[in-house]
Symmetry: C2
Subunit: 280 residues, 2 copies
């Protein structure tokens, strides 16, 4: 089924009039991603008895929104990254202007797909609104600016770090869960899904910080003293051991919260298990 979704994404890119922008959009969108947000959406939908394929438009919207954020975050004025997922970043493969436009194009196209996400106009509209609030200046973008501010601040507290990630990562983990509930007509469950999404985003982010360090020492042969030069993370604030304990605890809370949902949670728990034991 995830293969079909890849083909769907590819087709969405190829439907656009060809230009350097559409090429750059496709280059970044079709890079090997984990498609975690689409997977979460499909799991909620199937847990509620829907067919995953009916969520391809919403899932495509989420993946386009996620990809645009990566393209813009990688720009020289932001994180200035040359590589992502083992290939050149968009502005390195093309150029900066094209990368800015490709991000803008994916963000805009995300809403075109969201508007087609359901035959029921009320549901499609709710999905558009969820996408806008999750990705906007009170969601992911707020997290991004708070992250940049934290980088330039001397002492970052654990509370600040949590806030950054609640917005930067949490909102786009929450959106697929909420969208699944919208498509299933389970609006009463949305607030519970928001809590689960926030927990899941937090667990994922603590783990990212841990993997950054364990990867560094094992794979890159860096010493632990490199930590001193890095920006504040759960590991720099808590230390590796406590960060690992915190991660395990948040994953446990997430699992508990999912099990309380009135649906078949098997698939969602399986994704969470795979997340917890990922090595990259």
């Amino acid at each position: 089924m995830m293969n079909e979704f890849e083909e769907f994404l590819q087709r969405q890119c190829r439907l656009l009039k060809h230009s350097e922008v559409s090429e750059a959009m496709e280059y970044s969108l079709m890079g090997k991603g984990k498609r975690l947000r689409p997977q979460l959406l499909f799991a909620v939908m199937e847990g509620y008895g829907l067919v995953a394929k009916d969520g391809f438009m919403a899932a495509g919207a989420l993946e386009m929104m996620h990809t645009y954020s990566l393209i813009h975050d990688d720009l020289p004025a932001m994180d200035n990254d040359d590589y992502r997922r083992g290939r050149k970043t968009c502005h390195k493969q093309f150029n900066e202007a094209t990368a800015i436009l490709a991000g803008d194009g994916l963000l805009t196209q995300a809403f075109a797909l969201a508007a087609e996400s359901s035959a029921d106009p009320m549901k499609a509209l709710k999905i558009v609104k969820e996408l806008a609030s999750a990705g906007g200046a009170e969601g992911m973008i707020l997290g991004q600016i708070k992250d940049l501010e934290a980088e330039n601040s001397a002492a970052v507290t654990l509370e600040q770090l949590k806030e950054v990630h609640l917005y930067k990562t949490g909102c786009l983990f929450t959106a697929p869960l909420v969208m699944g509930a919208i498509l299933a007509g389970q609006d009463a469950a949305i607030s519970q899904w928001r809590r689960i999404g926030a927990l899941m985003g937090l667990a994922f982010q603590i783990q990212d910080d841990i993997l950054d360090v364990t990867k560094s020492s094992k794979e890159l042969g860096k010493s632990a003293s490199d930590l001193d030069n890095k920006k504040s993370t759960y590991v720099t604030i808590l230390g590796l051991g406590q960060a690992q304990d915190a991660m395990t605890e948040v994953y446990r809370q997430t699992r508990d919260a999912i099990r309380q949902m009135d649906m078949n949670t098997q698939q969602l728990i399986a994704i969470l298990d795979a997340m917890e034991f990922r090595q990259y």
Copy 2:
């Protein structure tokens, strides 16, 4: 009424959680703009007997989309402009990262407003779709990349130039006209409005090229030989006299097309008159 709309835009910015991004969004959105796209929307709505105020959400969406495109176009990797409308560009007033995020934030927020543009979910959804197609990789963004390509090309033909502006300017002139028809339930007239929007965008753009030259000579004291250093425009390709004739002809065609619409066209014609005789 336009004052009320300014207050509406201001309020939309202030509703957002305060951050450097929301500040930058407000800075750019509230700069003195002509609000031409909102004016066009209101004129179509009132021509069809609707109240302009019921179009504030759609108009706000258009103005946010327009403003984001200016912020990103002004970035160093694009046109690298320091000033816009007599004040510093967003990346000069704040910084590049904030300007990228402010553009992203306005683009995202445009869709949040579009989703609230009508109490009728079918109409709101149509407005979301029109905004996405006008602004996307088959609309304004396609025009932008074609413009960048034309800058790097030795000989630009008149046809190429027309194509650039059909997408870059025309799509966002067409959108308010189409949105007015959608809100008025006049979907049968949409294809005519698309033709009018394309003509209007073309007239506006030829005029921009003319004003660039006449302003240069009169106000900046530049000589006409500066033209040689500039990128291809209607004036460099046609010469000033023929460009002025072309502009007058396209404005005439636009007026004729508007007069054929089944509505009160007085207000729209008045806007067109003001456009044709603008000096900046």
